[in-house]
């Protein structure tokens, strides 16, 4: 809001200066002073009103606090959503009631890429090889203890290995079949346990669990045995949840705003019961509430599974990426600190959790979006956690000089063609490798480069879709430009200052500036826009690791 006003002021000033300068050139008269005076008076009046509104807004908030009105509801705004903020708000979508509070996030940036997956499930694509990769899980011992050996036959849901430090934490097979390899990396750390799937899938049958008549401890024990514990991730640090802790709240984002991200409304279709069951289980696990972040920015209402979910608190968000990131949503509901831990899950993890109770088995099914401009036909496939990328993309590649990414282009992991989908990902992106030179790249108005900068002509074409490639478009430099990171991160923090505090190891400042609230995906857009090409996500992880060691 402040920006709109100030831009207006600038315009008036510029107009004033111009009109008078022409008048001057013509007559040499003395009109400049009066026009400038009038425009400055106008500005002063504007500022005066702005101040009054701000002050009254804050008084309102103070009064509301005294009366005990819930500030959470968004009705009484301090911070970035005051009276003026509401005045200039985008129109509320038709599918929402007048009195449903919506959090409008103005900062952010959508990167429109070519190769969005068509809303069609291709049943013919089937992966044969699957892997569980311990490297997908943060906060566990790098060499887990194996339960099975190479060559063993396992059923889907059978234990594969457990964490050395916490033996109750077990990982299970996503499919039934033969364990064909246990791959090891540096220092004998296990990188992947690979399973060749059977044609006919067999499941380990789980005992039925009575959710209503049992306490939390029994539920935790049951979930640990079922292998469901790895579905929960704990913030701060984004580690696998600790079963000794009770989370303050549990958060689920029901929409993904990342580039080419899968449409979760489409994925959850027909699985409403399992989703609701999953939410019911989660409600038993937390001392607080289960929060559901919903998209108020779409043309149509989100799926019924989300809007009609019971036993949860719904929060509506409207904005560009990263509005769909759960970290941003937590920030705008109840912030995390080192002592207030929350858990997060993706929608498909909730489905797997729910199916443990509705189907009595560990169903690792995932609907995965195959996306990217280098695919012949970007679409959705139904497979299982950890599917081999080659199996899914066979016959679909339009180009072989490409990069495979498990996840989206911002925070996904680079994979080889014979690599595997990561545990928490429901998207594979294929983009062209950009290892080519660009003549006068620093000057020419290249059209096919996504950017937030208006020095590219594509800034004039708002709906432009880009065919991105992996070139860095420049060399790494020290931090120079300021304000860029903030312009794409809709959170009340200073990411660039935070990065600097991590680089110099100022522990107190890291915590104070909000490091516990962030994980890699939240700052991925900052890394994208970074003019100095700094590895922002890597720096953030470095900070999180130091902080975790200290805590």
């Amino acid at each position: 809001m402040k920006q709109t006003v100030s831009k207006g002021i600038l315009l008036i000033l510029a107009m004033g200066a111009y009109t008078t300068s022409w008048a001057q050139a013509g007559s040499g008269g003395n009109g400049f002073g009066s026009v400038l005076t009038y425009s400055l008076i106008a500005i002063a009046v504007l500022i005066f009103f702005f101040l009054i509104i701000q002050v009254s807004n804050n008084l309102l908030a103070i009064e509301a606090k005294q009366l005990g009105i819930d500030e959470d509801s968004g009705e009484v705004g301090t911070g970035n959503d005051g009276f003026l903020g509401r005045l200039f708000k985008p129109k509320k979508p038709a599918f929402l009631d007048e009195d449903t509070p919506v959090t409008y996030l103005r900062r952010g940036h959508d990167i429109a890429l070519e190769g969005e997956a068509e809303l069609k499930l291709d049943e013919s694509v089937q992966a044969m090889t699957f892997a569980v990769q311990p490297t997908n899980f943060l906060g566990i011992s790098p060499i887990p203890k194996m339960v099975v050996e190479e060559g063993a036959e396992v059923k889907a849901g059978d234990h594969l290995f457990f964490d050395k430090n916490r033996p109750e934490m077990k990982w299970v097979a996503p499919v039934s079949g033969e364990v064909i390899a246990i791959e090891r990396g540096a220092k004998r750390a296990i990188t992947a346990v690979t399973i060749l799937a059977d044609k006919e899938q067999q499941y380990r049958e789980l005992s039925a669990f009575d959710l209503d008549n049992s306490n939390r401890d029994q539920l935790v024990e049951y979930l640990l045995d079922a292998g469901a514990w790895t579905l929960f991730r704990q913030r701060p640090f984004n580690v696998v949840a600790d079963y000794n802790e009770v989370p303050r709240d549990i958060y689920i984002s029901t929409f993904d705003t990342a580039p080419l991200a899968p449409n979760l409304d489409f994925i959850v279709e027909g699985q409403e019961a399992a989703f609701q069951k999953g939410l019911d289980v989660l409600a038993k696990l937390t001392s607080g509430s289960v929060y559901l972040g919903l998209n108020a920015g779409g043309d149509t209402a989100p799926a019924k599974a989300f809007t009609e979910a019971r036993g949860v608190k719904q929060r509506w968000f409207h904005g560009k990426h990263p509005a769909g990131n759960v970290g941003v949503q937590i920030h705008h509901t109840k912030p995390i600190s080192l002592s207030a831990k929350v858990w997060t899950l993706g929608v498909q993890e909730v489905l797997t959790l729910g199916k443990i109770f509705t189907e009595q088995r560990y169903n690792a099914e995932r609907v995965v979006a195959l996306t990217g401009a280098e695919l012949k036909k970007p679409l959705y496939v139904k497979t299982k956690v950890g599917a081999k990328i080659e199996d899914l993309l066979k016959d679909n590649l339009a180009n072989d000089h490409v990069r495979f990414i498990s996840g989206d282009v911002l925070s996904g992991k680079r994979k080889e063609l014979n690599g595997f989908l990561d545990f928490y990902d429901d998207q594979i992106t294929v983009v062209e490798e950009g290892d080519d030179y660009a003549l006068f790249g620093w000057l020419l108005p290249s059209f096919n480069t996504p950017s937030i900068s208006t020095t590219f002509p594509s800034a004039l074409v708002p709906d432009m879709k880009f065919k991105a490639e992996t070139n860095t478009h420049g060399e790494r430099r020290a931090f120079v430009v300021t304000g860029n990171y903030e312009s794409v991160l809709p959170m009340d923090l200073y990411p660039q200052e935070l990065m600097k505090s991590i680089l110099i190891g100022d522990f107190e400042k890291m915590e104070g500036l909000g490091l516990p609230e962030l994980v890699e995906e939240d700052v991925a857009l900052c890394e994208f826009v970074c003019v100095s090409k700094q590895p922002v996500q890597q720096i953030l992880r470095q900070g999180l690791d130091t902080m975790r060691e200290q805590a």
């Binding site: 400049f32 430090n165 080519d436 030179y437 420049g474």
Partner: protein, 441 residues
Amino acid sequence: MKNALLKVLKNIEPDKEKSPLLHTVYDGFFTFAFTPNFTTKDGVHIRDGMDLKRQMVHVVLALQVLYLFGTYNIGHQHFVALGEYTGFLQGVHLKLIYGLIKIIPIFVVTHVVGLGIEFYYAYKKGHGIEEGFLVSGALIPLIMPPDIPLWILAVSVAFAVWIGKEAFGGTGMNILNIALLARVFVFFAYPTYISGDEVWIAGIEKAAEGGYFGQAYGAVYGFFDNIFASLGLATFGAGGSAVVDGYTGATPLAIASKEGWDAVTQTYTTGQMLWGTIPGSIGESSKPLIIVGALFLIITKIADWKIMVSMVFGAAVMALLLNAWGATEFMEVPWYYQFYMGSFLFAMAFMATDPVTASSTATGKWIYGFLIGFVGMIVRVLNPAYPEGWMLAILFMNVFAPLIDHYVLQANINRRAKRIKATMKSETPDAPAPATAPAQA
């Protein structure tokens, strides 16, 4: 075309091990021609097209109109002082060539010295040549008087780049604005070359017995005279003639500081001051062209509009206060006419907005800009020695920018802590209390 050029360039690449200095220089020029073929490693897989080279080059682009005008104005002022070709568009070829003969050596010396030091440090530290000097090097000629002796220029650029930047760790690490540091060095080390009345007009000297006269034209001018004569155009001639009667060469600010606004208008019209056909530093005088450059930087989001706007406010507020006080002639200059004189706009558009030395937080930028305007106006009006304040005000606030940021960040830290505390309190423990097992790292 592109591939052929690439091949040629790759063929002449010096060996990195055998001749590291050559390779550094080669790398600097190669990356100037081609964006390297680096691809993203970990982290994001696609990157924004903007890089530091592009950023810096756009500032240089914004300065081009000022270079054009500044060059011409050097010649224009010279001839006006001598009473020849007093119309703006009379003697165009002479004024242009005169300006070019003055500005090209300044530009070349600035870049040879500045880039030389930059190249040396890149080689010494084994990193690529950073593009920070592109902007500094384009700014420095514009803020110097046209007659600056080249050795003084060389010393001041060396001081600014060496002590101001490389000593702190290179591009992005400096505390003070490099271009202003070069100028402030001249200002304090060689004050007679950058203050007084005669320095702002090229080729005018003070005679021993008083009064001013034009310098004799040297051999370079003779060369052009031959060309002009063969084309039937007017020539420079021998030079050395006396200036017009009553000429002082004083800038509007110098007049205003002594005798007030009325005296200024007797010498210069407001139109002249606005369009910039007045003596001064090379690039600072034309207000509309500076505004064009500033708008270009704002639209491309390269410079921060917050600093510019708040700086205008700061200066206006202080000027109004001084108007109200009104103890001297200079204080009584109507506040809006303060913007007609001196280099306020140039400092606002190109100096204060340097992202490295300015405040880095949005709130900090408002404070930073406002205080530059405020302090700069104080220095301009109340300083008895020198009637301009932006250089000193910006350097002063450069030093204070980290402090402003510190308090903005501290406020953010406190706000965050308060909010976390508030949400903790509102929690309703309706579920079993947390297990007492110690948290595992």
